[in-house]
Amino acid sequence: MIKKEVEIKNRTGLHTRPAAMLVKLASKFKSDFFIEKNGVEINGKSIIGVMSLAAEQGSRLILRFEGEDEEEAAEAIVALFESGFGELEGLKNEENKNGQGQSY
């Protein structure tokens, strides 16, 4: 078994796109993959699970890998976290509340 601690670097956290990337990558490996946040552990191959972790930027997660290809899995998945899921330094968007927010 391998345990690794990672930090969410991308600004938007594990929202849909990063979650899908993570699950897709994890599913390529035979090993089991779990993610723990604040004492809650979920299956890292479940997109609903990953999304429900509600991991925001700066969250620390413990990754656990167990199985025959655990080393490769750990390496690949940690690298994905390190890369910030390939996201550009994003801007935080918020829907304009007063509606008439277009500017000219």
Binding site: I47, I48, L53, N93, Q100, Y104
Partner: protein, 578 residues
């Protein structure tokens, strides 16, 4: 019962509907715990798997409809839901529990998914909280499919749909029916219902607060999407009044049809180019169908979604899509005009955002953002019909600096042998008093100007028009504003660069004559105003417009200007009160 009760909301999509209300209440599936006999277990699992498949195929249909109507960006939420339905880990877990606990599928699904919904709801992040709604929706969909009820999404005759709130899926599905209008308790101008209703050209009023409380299915309702009101069980004379209004509007619109595809040339031969302002690529069709001769303002903020700016490649695809559709006409792409009251609220706070970090200021502070957008815009310019424009410029230094980044972006593309228009036109928005007053000097540095009147007025008069207390003194015809506009146009003409105007003022029939008279080459307006603006231009003489605009500059107050215009333009501008 009080006849003709009026409730007020937010006008979300223009138009008037008179019809019978259909109150739409979301069914919450009833879930009972039921023990299964050994021989029922495999059938239950089968039912569960079929419900997943059925839900997937429903969502794929909705996705197709949504992509068609909202574009791929607006359809993202359905993609996420489909992705969640593919969650093998959870599906296996549910099957395992049905087998082990010998309980009905609905109960196990409810129990299993609720845990995740709770986790999500406890997040501090609004975006993830919203995803909890998506998961809840999805769970209900699967359970409904197990119980094999159909959600109401088709009904026979034309109805005004009244609901507390509509999910994007509801709105999309309803749109396949004869919906006369949408009325919802919740929502604002940018809610899914509002955006979609506008795209579908269905009248809508949102944010009514008590519509579902006050209306019963079967009530006669008038929905006024211009004023943002609902009239419940109106008196006969009110109905007739509205029927006449519908007729008048239809007649007026029919007349305007004739002006759609003719060039806007004054009686004495002065041609003004009429362009469209758009916010999403999907609006290009509407713009062209309304008679636009290009896009004078393509806002790019929409592309920033869920807190992320897409990579250069994705941006390029979006911009190119528009450039291709508009070709051979041009599209003026404005770089991100974020900041102010719009974005960064979560982690970037300012006491005075409109005077803060926004528009080009952000681009210059975050060159990586600016450069990737510039490369994407340049790449979209291969057909030589793309112009690039920068918002919120307040000094000539910014103009010079921004031009360096354009050169840098060009060099970067050349190194990779990526084609683009070497002579892309570079312009700025004139929307601050300082840029207007420096227009002569700035004009020598750029290829074109576009006057953004909304901000120019706001900054010149120091009035936030979103602030109800002072909104009254937001005056489009304030002499100070008119003088600035006139000066900017004159400066552009001296430097022999084209100048257009893209604020809401350009779409005000009274202002049209004034602006044409000042000598603006182009007016860029919301697509639906194009035929009307063309009609006005075709009705006037440039000579008269020049005289009127010159004269308008001598007045000292907005009222004086307006009275003068009303007198001069009597008979040219129809008295149509909508």
């Amino acid at each position: 019962m009080v006849k003709g009760k009026v409730i007020e909301g937010i006008p979300a999509s223009p138009g008037i509907a008179i019809g019978v209300a259909l109150k739409y209440e979301k069914l919450k599936p009833k879930i009972l715990k039921k023990e299964l006999k050994e021989e029922e277990v495999s059938g239950e699992i089968e039912k569960f798997l079929m419900a997943i498949e059925r839900s997937k195929s429903e969502l794929r249909k909705i996705l197709t409809l949504a992509v068609e109507k909202l574009g791929s960006k607006g359809a993202e939420i359905f993609e996420a839901q489909i992705l969640m339905l593919d969650d093998k880990t959870i599906i296996d877990k549910i099957i395992e529990r049905i087998k082990g606990e010998k309980l009905n599928a609905e109960f196990i699904i409810q129990d299993e998914i609720e845990k995740y919904i709770k986790f999500m709801q406890s997040s501090g992040d609004d975006y993830l909280k919203e995803r909890a709604h998506d998961l809840e929706d999805l769970k209900n969909r699967v359970i409904r499919n197990i119980q094999q009820q159909k959600w109401l999404s088709r009904f026979d005759t034309s109805r005004i749909v009244v609901a507390e709130n509509l999910t994007p899926a509801d709105t999309i599905l309803f749109s396949r029916n004869q919906v006369l209008g949408y009325a919802t308790d919740l929502g604002g101008m940018t809610s899914h219902t509002a955006i979609l209703a506008r795209a579908l050209k269905i009248p809508a009023v949102v944010g009514l607060k008590e519509a579902t409380k006050s209306i019963k299915t079967g009530d006669l309702v008038i929905l006024d999407g211009y004023k943002g009101i609902l009239i419940i069980n109106p008196e006969q004379d009110v109905v007739e009044e509205y029927q006449n209004k519908i007729k008048r509007i239809a007649e007026f619109e029919r007349k305007l049809e004739d002006f759609k595809f003719v060039p806007a040339v004054t009686i004495d031969g002065r041609k003004v180019t009429i362009l469209a302002n758009i916010e999403f690529p999907e609006e290009v069709n509407e713009a062209l169908e309304s008679g636009a001769e290009g896009v004078g303002l393509f806002r790019t903020e929409y592309i920033i979604s869920n807190g992320t700016i897409p990579e250069e490649d994705e941006q390029f695809e979006e911009y190119f899509k528009v450039a291709e559709k508009v070709y051979p006409y041009k599209v003026v792409i404005r770089t991100f005009d974020v900041g102010g009251d719009k974005i960064f609220r979560d982690y970037h706070r300012e006491d005075n955002p409109f005077l803060g970090w926004r528009g080009i200021r952000i681009g210059l502070d975050k060159p990586e953002i600016l450069l990737s957008q510039l490369r994407a815009i340049l790449r979209a310019s291969v057909k030589k019909n793309v112009w690039v424009m920068f918002p919120m410029v307040s000094s000539i230094d910014e103009v010079r600096e921004v031009k360096k980044y354009i050169d840098l972006a060009k060099t970067q593309l050349k190194e990779k042998n990526i084609p683009f228009d070497e002579n892309i036109k570079v312009g700025v928005m004139i929307e601050t008093p300082s840029s207007a007053l420096m227009a002569k000097e700035i004009a020598r540095e750029v290829d074109f100007f576009s006057i953004g009147t909304n901000d120019l007025i706001q900054y010149t008069l120091a009035v936030d028009r979103g602030n109800e207390t002072v909104a009254k003194i937001f005056q489009e015809f304030h002499p100070a504003v008119l003088r600035l506009i006139q000066f900017v146009v004159e400066s552009a003409q001296r430097a022999k660069i084209p100048v257009s105007i893209c604020g809401e003022m350009a779409a005000d029939p009274y202002a049209t004559v004034l602006l044409v008279g000042f000598g603006l080459d182009e007016l860029s307006v919301t697509p639906k105003m194009i035929p009307e603006i063309k009609r006005i231009i075709k009705t006037i003489k440039f000579k008269d417009a020049k005289r009127i605009s010159k004269r308008a500059l001598v007045f000292k107050t907005q009222d004086e200007v307006k009275n003068f215009l009303m007198k001069e333009l009597k008979g040219i501008i129809p008295e149509i009160e909508i």
